[in-house]
Amino acid sequence: MQYLMLLSSAPDAWDSPDAPQSEDWGVYTEALIEAGIMVSGAGLQGVETATTVRVRGGERLLTDGPFADTKEHLIGFYVIDVPDLDTALAWAAMVPNVRTGSVEVRPVMPDAEAARVDATAAAVAG
């Protein structure tokens, strides 16, 4: 079962003594890979670089900034493959920014998971 972990933090959280150090991210990602559960993941550029797109009545509307004006912003994500929610939650509790920010854990739709595998197989076969 795949789970998406959406990582969020408030900009001022980085000043906290509990804020993650840059090497923490490498250690954590390395742990996911070693456990054989890492599917994908990435950190994101700052929220000031975000552009939100909507199409309304055939017209494309662009907004400078994130889709929702919240205190915490999306800073990155991981997709992991583990047997159940408790395992996913245990990993989420170790994400480097979790002591100052938050991690939302969402199961990936099984169909989407299967489609991704199919696409990979097609790519390999092609």
Binding site: P83, D84, L85, D86, L89, A90, R106, P107
Partner: protein, 416 residues
């Protein structure tokens, strides 16, 4: 109780648990068990009750579940048995299954309302209309809440396996919170609430007994069971003939359930080896109240100490209010008021009726009759329980000098 009713009470949860674990699907398990009970109702009266009703129900429910799974397999001719989970051994009572079912229903990833609903539906076996009536919400709302919760369990794959030992404590804390919430809801309704709400107390005690039986070494679960028994032992005495709420201090102690109190004491005597927690402390306080033959003989200094401990283990403004009452009895009303003042200044508890009732009682005993009357009124305005509201209004109306002479008239800390 007919054999079928007894089987429903004693076996149902275990059968649901056994199926849910093997199927990984709570709804499928629940439906199959309902079908099995329908089959029992149809055949037992004529054919007689099986030697082992639980085994009979498990086997029958399992067959019903397989029928559903076979019907649902889209491709005909697929070897169904090959992909089926292994059948439970007939007659095997794996009590870990029951514990797992409770832990899954009370998983902290679910909203507390959903945990309560799932536990009452699938472990206690209450119907959706019963649970809806118990929590004063429309039936449709409760049905939707259950569907949403089961969907989350299935889609996010909340496990039906026992958690790792290092998280068992966190998981049990959630179970205890759910069970105590069910109990409190029933307790609130006592007196003039509908029977289905009052019966929530019995359901909570029954559920807690099951968990305590499975985990006799978990001191907090034992403490919780003792606490419920002690609070429930006063159920009869909490109301007079007219259904009016009788304040704790004025209750007829001979109407307290002595057997429940004795059982709670025995349970408490087995705790204390493990980590002390909020339920054990609250039960110890309730036991001290129960042990006093009269209101005048309550060991307030000891109770005040226990509230001090509770304030450290599980600090909350509500605990501080109770502590202030105890300290007010032990060290005089001024000491109690001093503890209460910071809470009164906090807006969070401004609408909490017991806060104002406690303040009123302390003011009254400190000799501030005008302040006391105002605080009693405020408490009455805020109370949501009609019986309690009536009792508070009587206190507000009662002139201090007209109080019955036995009420703390000779209390050592009374200042006038």
């Amino acid at each position: 109780m007919t054999p079928l009713e007894r089987a429903f009470r004693e076996e149902r949860a275990q059968v649901v648990a056994t199926l849910a674990r093997r199927l990984g699907d709570l709804q499928l398990a629940e439906d199959a068990v309902s079908d099995a009970f329908a089959a029992a109702a149809a055949t037992w009266p004529a054919a007689g009750v099986p030697d082992r009703p639980g085994a009979w129900l498990t086997t029958t429910a399992w067959r019903k579940a397989l029928d559903v799974l076979r019907r649902d397999r889209s491709a005909p001719g697929v070897a169904v048995e090959a992909t089926m989970p292994p059948a439970p051994e007939p007659g095997l009572r794996d009590e870990d299954d029951l514990l797992q079912l409770v832990l899954t229903c009370c998983h902290p990833a679910l909203a507390i309302d959903a945990r309560v609903a799932l536990t009452l539906r699938h472990v206690a076996g209450l119907s959706v209309p019963e649970i809806a009536a118990g929590f004063l919400v429309p039936e449709e709302t409760m049905a939707k809440r259950l569907v949403r919760a089961r969907t989350k369990i299935r889609q996010s794959r909340i496990s039906f396996e026992l958690p790792e030992p290092e998280v068992l404590g966190e998981r049990l804390a959630s179970v205890q919170a759910v069970l105590y919430l069910v109990f409190t809801e029933g307790h609130l309704a006592s007196g003039d609430g509908p029977a289905v709400r009052i019966e929530l107390c019995d359901e909570a005690i029954w559920l807690t007994r099951q968990v305590q039986r499975l985990l006799p070494d978990d001191c907090e679960t034992t403490g919780l069971l003792a606490l419920m028994l002690l609070q429930h032992s006063r159920a009869e005495a909490r109301h007079d003939g007219a259904g009016r709420l009788v304040p704790f201090a004025e209750q007829d102690r001979s109407r307290w359930d002595a057997r429940a109190i004795a059982e709670a004491r025995e349970l408490l005597a087995t705790t204390g080896r493990g980590r002390v927690g909020q339920y054990q402390i609250q039960a110890a306080i309730a036991a001290l109240h129960a042990a006093a033959p009269t209101t005048e003989e309550i060991n307030w200094p000891r109770i005040a100490d226990l509230y001090g401990l509770l304030d450290r283990v599980a600090a909350s403004p509500v605990v501080t209010v109770n502590r202030a009452v105890a300290v007010g009895r032990a060290d005089g009303p001024r000491a109690g008021i001093a503890l209460l003042l910071p809470v009164l200044e906090e807006s969070r508890l401004a609408a909490y009726a017991p806060l104002h009732a406690a303040y009123a009682d302390l003011l009254e005993r400190a000799g501030d009759d005008a302040g006391a009357t105002a605080a009693w009124r405020r408490a009455a305005e805020l109370s949501r329980n009609p019986a309690e509201q009536a009792a508070l209004e009587r206190r507000a109306a009662r002139a201090p000098r007209a109080r019955p002479p036995f009420r703390h008239a000779k209390g050592p800390h009374r200042r006038k």
